[in-house]
């Protein structure tokens, strides 16, 4: 298979899957090593962006997925039934950002940072599959610990946790 053919197959695979397809799966299906597949997909991502194609490829934790472009929002919304896209409340967003930056973290630690009980925010975020119970801490009471999901990365346009935006001061520290 030449590279053009490989790209074509990958396009078909991503379309059928709809969901994210891991680099591992792609490599297995194509019988091509992961680093080559990664290179090819990265090329595809660039081409799709350069050509301003109607679909783009996003990467989430070494998985790839098609999605539409934000700038086509109004047209697509006209076609699909108005989605009940309930945004996140301020409380839920606060809780989420604490989990994102401090994971793994217990409920008590979240409560302490926010200064309020975060129980309802936590269950809301779990419902929305943005955080999950990643196990229990090996300490008195064996409290549950929480981490963010791949779905969180996807909805916030992050490839991985290293891509979390840094605060100005944190950036300055890194640069110095």
């Amino acid at each position: 298979m030449d590279i053009k053919e490989i790209k074509s197959v990958i396009e078909g695979l991503l379309y059928v899957a709809g969901d994210a397809v891991s680099l591992k799966e792609l490599s297995h299906v194509l019988s091509i090593d992961e680093s080559t597949v990664r290179k090819i997909v990265n090329q595809m991502i660039d081409i799709y962006n350069e050509e301003k194609r109607g679909i783009q490829i996003i990467e989430v934790n070494s998985s790839y997925q098609f999605c539409t472009r934000p700038e086509h929002y109004e047209y697509i919304e006209r076609l699909v039934k108005p989605q009940t896209r309930q945004g996140l409340s301020q409380a839920a967003l606060e809780t989420l950002s604490i989990v994102a930056y401090k994971q793994p973290i217990t409920k008590a630690q979240i409560d302490s940072i926010r200064g309020v009980k975060s129980e309802s925010s936590i269950s809301r975020l779990q419902e929305k599959e943005l955080i999950f119970e990643a196990g229990r801490l090996d300490s008195p009471g064996r409290p549950m610990i929480y981490c963010t999901t791949d779905n969180f990365l996807k909805l916030f346009g992050l490839k991985n946790l290293q891509e979390l935006p840094l605060l100005q001061e944190a950036k300055e520290v890194e640069e110095s």
Binding site: Y15, V16, A17, G18, D19, Q65, F66, C67, T68, R69, P70, E71, Y73, I76, V80, R85, G87, L88, Q90, A91, L93, E94, L96, S97, I98, A100, Y101, I113, R114, G115, V116, K117, K154, L155, F156, G157, L158, L164, P165, L167
Partner: protein
């Protein structure tokens, strides 16, 4: 000094305190505690006036603020390690505020990202099982196979089927046949021109039968016809889903 509060929802006592500190434009490391405590209590009163439920965390913070305020009035305590440094009663609160402020800023950054990616759509994943089973069912299946299959059946059951086949023979046009034909077309097409119903070689008899069939279907309210002017093309439209 009193502050006019607008009905704003604070996510907790730390959120409210930060708001008051920012509003007063004071240094977070050197909070004028009695002033801020005063405003904080005013806000709680205001919440009660508005009949809002004041969460217990707000009350605990109020007590903490009052405690800090009173400690500030007492002679300063030295730190336990005898380093001669004085303990600032505000220190713990300040640390909490700074930590909280950091995550509040993170929240804003995430919110910006979310605003972009919220406008992105994903395809619902294919019901893969259906997809694959349908997919496999067409491997080895083709339209030609359909024709072959039917031919075989017709030959096999020649006695009974031949009669059936003659029944829908096309050489003689009947209004009933035409109605069936049009009904079949209507399933897949909601709008077509009258002349699409027969080919160029159609004889007068077929055209007349077709026209009668159309009239019958109009009567049955299955379709409507439109013509802009005399001798213009006749547009036939399906009236409703045939059911």
């Amino acid at each position: 000094m009193s502050i006019k509060f607008k009905l704003e929802k604070f996510e907790g006592p730390l959120d409210l305190l930060l708001h008051l500190i920012e509003k007063a434009e004071v240094d977070i490391y050197d909070i004028p505690i009695s002033e801020i405590a005063q405003q904080y209590l005013e806000y709680l009163d205001y919440m009660q006036e508005m009949d809002l439920e004041v969460a217990s965390e707000f009350l605990v913070m109020a007590a903490t603020l009052v405690e800090i305020k009173s400690k500030m009035l007492l002679p300063k305590l030295k730190k336990e390690d005898n380093s001669n440094q004085e303990i600032d009663p505000r220190e713990e609160l300040v640390q909490k505020l700074i930590e909280y402020k950091k995550y509040k800023e993170f929240t804003l950054l995430l919110k910006d990202k979310f605003a972009v990616y919220e406008k992105v759509f994903y395809k619902t994943p294919e019901p893969i099982e259906d997809y694959i089973s349908d997919f496999t069912s067409i491997t080895g299946v083709s339209a030609d196979l359909l024709a072959k299959t039917l031919n075989t059946i017709l030959q096999k059951n020649s006695t009974s089927s031949k009669r059936k086949v003659r029944e829908i023979h096309r050489e003689v046009y009947t209004v009933d046949d035409k109605i069936k034909e049009i009904t079949r077309l209507l399933v897949s097409k909601s709008v077509f021109y009258f002349e699409e119903l027969f080919n160029e070689q159609a004889n007068k008899y077929e055209i007349i039968v077709t026209f009668l069939a159309i009239l019958e279907l109009v009567k049955r309210k299955h379709l409507t016809v439109e013509q802009n002017m005399s001798f213009d093309r006749i547009l036939v439209k399906r009236k409703k889903q045939i059911s």
